[in-house]
Symmetry: C2
Subunit: 236 residues, 2 copies
């Protein structure tokens, strides 16, 4: 990334990365990004979205989720991943396993995100008063919805592509502006489930983007839409 400052950090056991744009100054907002399942903080989806956000003048930070990236897998992680692969191979629905495993990871990841945000706001290059947003789909939503529900420092969030089962109760506590994305022909998440999760957010300002296509066919232009959403709500 040209002219971008990359700052690798560790908070407790959790490795993360902060990218800062050349335009960074007092007041520059920070976007926290949660990566997807099986992925990590510097995966192409993260660096691609980060580039768009950095070009729009945001700081961007990502941490590795439990059992992901540079973090060790526990026996429980291995067991759940094996179970997911088994269900996939058998043509069984993967929803129940993903929902259960992601909720387990979220219980650990929410306090990790809070500590990471504490540490990020103390860095010399960061303004602790600047607005903070959260952007995560798939597992980034499974962790992000309970995190945002618990964290009043987050002022706008982009979510999507998850089930309501473990998340709707948290979504009902969220009142900040939300952009939520779903796939109209998702083979894993039933249409009604996605609509139910979107409906659960208590936010006065919320937008659903539903695109034709299967689970993995989320159009690239939704990332640019997320950046505009954060610019609308967080720019100072």
């Amino acid at each position: 990334m040209n002219d971008i400052r990359e700052h690798d950090f560790t908070v407790g056991e959790v490795p993360g990365v902060l990218w800062s744009p050349p335009s960074a100054r007092s007041g520059t907002p920070l976007i926290l990004m949660g990566h997807g399942g099986g992925n990590h903080k510097k995966s192409p989806a993260m660096t691609g979205r980060a580039q768009l956000l950095l070009a729009a003048g945001f700081h961007v930070a990502v941490i590795d989720a439990p059992g992901h990236g540079d973090r060790p897998r526990t026996a429980h992680d291995e067991q759940e991943i094996a179970e997911l692969y088994r269900a996939r191979a058998a043509g069984e629905p993967e929803g129940p396993i993903v929902v259960r495993y992601n909720a387990h990871l979220a219980a650990q990841a929410v306090p990790e995100w809070q500590s990471a945000l504490d540490a990020l706001q103390k860095l010399p290059e960061m303004d602790p008063e600047a607005p903070v947003g959260y952007y995560g789909i798939n597992m980034g939503t499974a962790i992000g919805v309970p995190f945002v529900a618990a964290e009043p420092r987050i002022k706008a969030a982009v979510f999507g592509l998850h089930w309501p089962d473990a998340l709707a109760e948290h979504a009902r506590q969220i009142t900040i502006p939300i952009e939520f994305t779903m796939q109209w022909h998702d083979e894993h998440i039933p249409r009604e489930s996605a609509l139910t999760l979107f409906d659960a957010f208590a936010s006065k300002e919320k937008t659903l983007h539903a695109n034709a296509g299967k689970h993995k066919e989320l159009p690239r232009f939704e990332a640019a839409s997320a950046v505009r959403f954060f610019t609308r709500h967080l720019s100072v």
Copy 2:
């Protein structure tokens, strides 16, 4: 509008307006816009959207719908409008009246749009080979969906805020890229009805934008989204 050329025209009995940007050249795409019920070709919603489209380099044309703007109202128009006001005052649902009246207007308006497009493509400032889009919500969708279903010259369309009753059969004939907007708390159009109409489009590329709020609370940023949609699909 600065540096914009405004060209008032009449095709048969139908008055219309063509706005052209200073950047117009061979290949500049044309967006046809359909206005809402009770409105007209130069209403603020039309000129506001036109300004965004012109700034993005599109030609924009609008015609008055039957019984609207500079066109005479028939006894049937007066009767349907009176019935709509009566239902509103009585707190009765206006959907059945709007659906019926708009379908009546669409039967007349579809061939009018086709003739208008014929005439527009013959103007010296227009390139008959340039791509054409259609943009209309509310009554602009009631007329636009059957028009686009019947008109192969339209290559991308933005619709929204209408019922499926008279439109789903036409939507099933439409395969071009679509952006469709609905209001999540629409007091006139049930949520399920809006989702049913979106679902009916046969387009491989289609996007639903659902925003929190009532029927008349469609956010302004959806107009900018429509412009980006046309830029993505029609720019040459």
